[in-house]
């Protein structure tokens, strides 16, 4: 009877690296889990903590933020700021009882189609372990019902 919980994850990808990496994964026909909904942003540094908090408050099970590798930011240093900001936010969320695994973070370059597929698969499993968002108004989660 029990269907496995399928987390719903929102992914913010930087235009220059991670979005292109996801595109490459598609072109290369790498399979990955269908649990994510992608939003393209100019830079991972554009991802305000408020976007993360709103996503979680609205009931999404996880948030993935992905940008260029450190040193490769199109805007030179945006991702360095992302790194500090998101590291602290993840720890704070966890401390406040909102499982830190709900905030997934990665560096994926435009040439890393395979890594993108792996990142998504791993992120989905981590968020699955964290379970349904306790603040979701849809008590059935997004298990396909």
């Amino acid at each position: 009877m029990t269907t496995e919980f399928e987390p719903k994850i929102i992914a913010f990808l930087c235009n220059w690296c991670s979005y292109a990496g996801a595109d490459l994964a598609g072109v290369s026909r790498f399979n990955y889990k269908p649990n994510i909904r992608i939003i393209r942003v100019p830079c991972s540094g554009r991802v305000s903590p408020m976007l993360v908090l709103k996503s979680l408050a609205e009931g999404l099970d996880g948030v993935l933020v992905s940008g260029c590798h450190p040193g490769d930011c199109h805007y030179a240093e945006g991702n360095y700021h992302t790194r500090r900001r998101m590291t602290l936010l993840k720890k704070l969320l966890d401390y406040m009882g909102i499982d830190g695994r709900r905030l997934q973070l990665s560096w994926v370059s435009a040439s890393e189609g395979k890594k993108w597929a792996d990142v998504v698969n791993e992120a989905v499993e981590e968020v699955r372990k964290a379970g349904p968002n306790p603040f979701s108004t849809n008590t059935k989660g997004s298990s396909g019902k």
Binding site: T87, L88, K91, G97, G100, S106
Partner: protein, 278 residues
């Protein structure tokens, strides 16, 4: 009248008489000290100092005309330093009258922040009112309560915080009193876009507090005013100090101690820790 109060009044009167400042922000009313704004040297007699001078007067720095002198404890001075660092006040527009402070007490008990205080003597000042007896060592592990919460499983942490958050009535006193919460419009009250649930329920309040603490990351000086004014006794410092400790461990930074160090969330190092990233 103690030598300390005497000295304080002398400094204040001098600054007002010479015209060095337009206003002195200090405390009045011995029995229950409250903020006072003095513009005449003769009024310096009103100033008091004791262990119930709770208010962090840095909150008022931007509310007066002209140069101001401020009576400040060690923790208050850190907030003044934060405001200078963030360009809210010019260093040359404020005269800091630092006062050595042993502790502030409520019904005979030292405040939590004072038990772990490491700034009984202010680090930055223009005038110092000294009190050798105030220079006591910190008493307890400054992060004991934070470690205790960290040791719980995550579901228990959620229960713990939600239990407290359900009490929050979203009066925003914690925000209003904070010297570093000076935004003209707070995201907590924005409606276009509405970033956070605005109703005062457990969930909305929890997200409000994550947001509030994160916006103060690397800026909160642990003056404890937010916690002191909370009408329903939410241990807000325990949230703030999680970040204070993480920031000190990850980035080696402490807010308000030095004027020429860049706050941690406006800068970075190429080799910052990145265990959180794949």
């Amino acid at each position: 009248m103690s030598a300390i109060v005497d000295e304080l009044r002398k400094v204040a009167a001098g600054l007002l008489k010479s015209g060095a400042v337009k206003v002195v922000i200090g405390y009045e009313n011995e029995a229950a000290p409250r903020p006072v704004f003095l513009e005449n040297a003769e009024d310096a007699e009103k100033l008091v100092w004791n262990d119930r001078c709770f208010h962090n007067l840095a909150r008022y720095l931007n509310t007066t005309e002209g140069k101001a002198a401020i009576v400040a404890k060690g923790c208050d001075v850190r907030a003044v330093a934060g405001l200078i660092r963030e360009g809210q006040v010019k260093r040359e527009d404020v005269v800091i009258i630092g006062v050595d402070c042993a502790a502030q007490t409520e019904s005979g008990e030292k405040l939590g922040k004072c038990l772990v205080c490491d700034c009984h003597r202010p680090e930055i000042y223009d005038h110092l009112v000294e009190d050798e007896n105030a220079l006591v060592e910190p008493q307890t592990d400054p992060y004991g309560d934070v470690s205790e919460i960290e040791a719980k499983p995550v579901e228990e942490r959620l229960g713990y915080w939600l239990g407290l958050m359900e009490r929050c009535i979203r009066c925003y006193a914690c925000r209003q009193v904070c010297p570093l919460c000076y935004c003209k419009e707070c995201v907590a009250e924005q409606s276009l876009p509405k970033w956070l649930p605005r109703s005062p329920d457990g969930k909305g309040n929890l997200f409000f507090h994550v947001m509030r603490a994160h916006h103060l990351a690397g800026r909160c000086v642990d003056c404890g005013e937010c916690e002191r004014v909370c009408p329903v006794d939410i241990p807000i410092r325990t949230i703030n100090r999680k970040l204070i400790r993480d920031i000190s461990e990850l980035y080696g930074y402490k807010a308000g101690v030095e004027l020429d160090v860049v706050p941690p969330l406006t800068t970075f190092k190429p080799d910052d820790p990145e265990d959180a990233f794949r």
